[in-house]
Amino acid sequence: MAVGKSVPMLDSVARVTGTVPYPSNLKLPDMLVGKIFRSRVPHAHVMKLDVSAAERLPGVVAIVTAADFAGDDKPNLHFGSPIQDQPIVAGDRIRYIGEPLALIAAESAAVADQAMDLIELEYEELSAVFDAEQAMLPGAPILHEASPDNIVRHSKLRRGDIDAGFAAADEIVEEVFSSPMAQQASLETHVATARWKEGKLTVWTGSQSPYTVRRVLGAIFDLDLENVRVIVPPLGGGFGGKGNVRIQPMAAALAWKVGNRPVKLMMTRAEEFVTVTKHAAKIMIKSGVKFDGTFTAREVSIYWNGGAYASSSAHLVPAGMLRAIGPYRIPAVHVDSYGIYTNLPIAAAYRGAMSSQGVFAHESHMDTIAHLLGIDPLELRTKNLLRTDDLFATGERLHDIHFVECLEAAAYGLGWHEPLQSDNGTIKKRGRGLAVMMKNTIANSYSECRIELDAEGRVTLFVSTVEMGQGGHTALAQIAAEALGVPIEVLAVTGPDTAETPPDAQTASSRSTHMMGNAVLDGAASLRQQLAEAAAPILEWSPDDLSVADGYVFVTTQPQARIPYTEVLGRNNIDALTATGKYSTNEGKLDPDTGQGISTPDWHQGAGACEVEVDTQTGKVTVLRYHSASFAGRVVNPTLAGLQNDGNVIFGMGASLLEEVAIDGGQITNPNLSDYMLPSFLDTPVELKNVSLEEEGSSFQGIGEMTLPPVAPAIANAIYDAVGARIRDLPLTAEKVLRGIQGRTDHER
């Protein structure tokens, strides 16, 4: 059985010998270098953009500006999925610092850099707004005339009688939490290479959404989709930042203007910070609760800072609404989730997308309530956690629910009820905290695969699932190998290549193992059926009487009457059998006014518990031990699952303790990995353990993010447990903790 085994990643040897063909490695004959001339002001009317001197520089092949898009026969300047408000390059209006204004294709990077200095820009600066709440106020600068209130999207959920709920409460607790802008910081930056040939566009790119890129490029250049080909080699990390459409339109536009030579566009580390960010969020959460710990009502308002263009915010804001409620039985729930335009780079998914901000809020809030009521935080949660068949705030009935098991696995792993090791003096204090999360996945989505079995017994899986380090291709190969009854060694996985591999929504939101895994099962079943049909004349039995397993087609009642797959193909003179597998879900249609309906095919569930040590003189927090748990349904590959769970915790520690994009007047001041810190080996807890919970008869569940969102609240709760300081603003820096310990506000000096 291939499923459930820790087989190494299919291309392990390439991974340790440095030969993985990342998109950043791509070299094509005659390839040009693309560079971007960007805005240095956050909001302005462009008066004049003169690139003529730059165009004359020897070695410059083409420069693209908004002027290239003027005219009916020209490509569309604006793009976006689903809202087309983002220009490929800014035209008469600049909306953030770092916004592309001109694209240069040159023979070398050095020439392109020189050309950059020759571009003349005149503009008239406008007042700008960087804070989401301020942007909603009357009189705030307006970014898009079509949205005079600067709201990209407002999602609402209304369930139960909220006023009656609060009236029935013994205590009402209201808190405000905030999370800063952050950056996904894949080690491989965004990269796209584009080439036009005979009216057809090919793009090689590091993207989590090849089919979205194809669709959007088709719309920009008014091409039939078969004339757009998107190829995605393995990525050097994605983490949500490479979802949707990012730099591909710029690469394609450059290659379009150049005409007959490919152009490669790769972001520098600093450019990465203006390409995509994580939404800064402010969350107000208010709960009504009885003295016995029963909830009566919850009201949540969330302000997502979406940056200058809608981009992913349009579909993430509703998802973020559901992820900020918490997996608890609450009869009356009232949520408003606002995505807001500001003069900052666009915001999008960041591993644990739109969950980590909300989970930080509701799980810190749970501890505040637990301490107020004098109830153990684990007990308050288990008392209220949703179970299978409960109704969620959307009104949908829940299935396969394991919040309690996840939380208890993490808590007991840590030793929640055992006494803490003594504080060892008065300077360093220890504390423990825990947290749980629930997350809907992308609903109403589709995955398709093709499986080919050749006469030599080799199996090729054609999928548009992006391999970005999660081991997605390996897991799918394991699923296919088991379903077809062949050893993993005969499996190869290819894709994504929109010309070769069938459509898939995207590789995001931990959906692939579940969605594409089920498509693979469907395809394998179809392939087995074809094998049975092809073997039937040879075995002289009806296909219905045959079984297909372990490399053989055999008579169900007489297993010794069997022939191997290769022989089935060989004796029929078949070169290869091909089957298509499909899987789709069509939930997700919530009522826009009430948020009622079925939001997701299944729920992502995870938890974490940790022990920290706080230096009470410096405020510095050390996470000594961390235990995480996620619900996996059925684990495909324990090693890869463990890497996801642990990787999430480490990634989450970055967002909890270190990561914050610093902004001054719209200018990012720390766009480098020295001032923007990622967690290192020494920041990792010495004791880091994880568990993936399985259930008999369950299907494969995604686990790409589940153990991440609980990290920040688990640590914040542990800090409170240790020193009594409640920090409601991420990251949990030493300085904030020290101020908390000393009872100071941020403004006291």
Partner: protein, 151 residues
């Protein structure tokens, strides 16, 4: 980024005010300023060179007087670009003068945005550079006032 500071000059408030408004004269006291020219009564064009260790910046830009409340308050906006470093400084400079028994206290607030490449070079460096320039400005101004050059 906000930079605040103050210095005291041994001169009556009116003298200090007049001196401050004599832009071409006054600008000679700002370290690194050169080629200042008057555009109109409210705006000026000039160049400013700054050197921090090996890093040199040469800004060219304009100063516009936005608010004048003689002899107490002056607000000016500065926008200057450094092409070589692909950087820009946009700053609002507010200066408040207060009469003391034996002189005038000048309090200043600079609300500055550094944009482009130099922005990541560091808040600490920018603050300290601005403060040093202000201190040098203060002592230069005192010298000039003492020398009666503003008469």
């Amino acid at each position: 980024m906000k930079i605040e500071g103050s210095f005291t000059l041994e001169a009556p408030i009116r003298t200090v005010w007049d001196y401050l408004l004599n832009i071409e004269e006054m600008s000679q006291c700002i370290p690194g300023v050169s080629a200042l020219e008057t555009i109109d009564t409210k705006s000026y064009r000039g160049e400013l060179q700054i050197k921090v260790g090996p890093i040199k910046a040469a800004f060219g830009g304009t100063v516009t007087l936005l608010e004048l409340e003689p002899p107490h308050r002056l607000v000016a906006e500065i926008v200057a670009d450094d092409r070589r470093n692909a950087s820009q400084v946009k700053a609002t400079f507010t200066s408040i003068l207060k009469s003391l028994a034996d002189g005038t206290e000048v309090t200043y607030t600079i609300d500055a945005n550094v944009r482009g490449r130099l922005a990541q070079f560091g808040q600490a460096v920018a603050q300290s550079t601005a403060k040093k320039m202000a201190a040098a400005f203060g002592s230069c101004m005192q010298e000039k006032i003492d020398a009666g050059e503003t008469a």
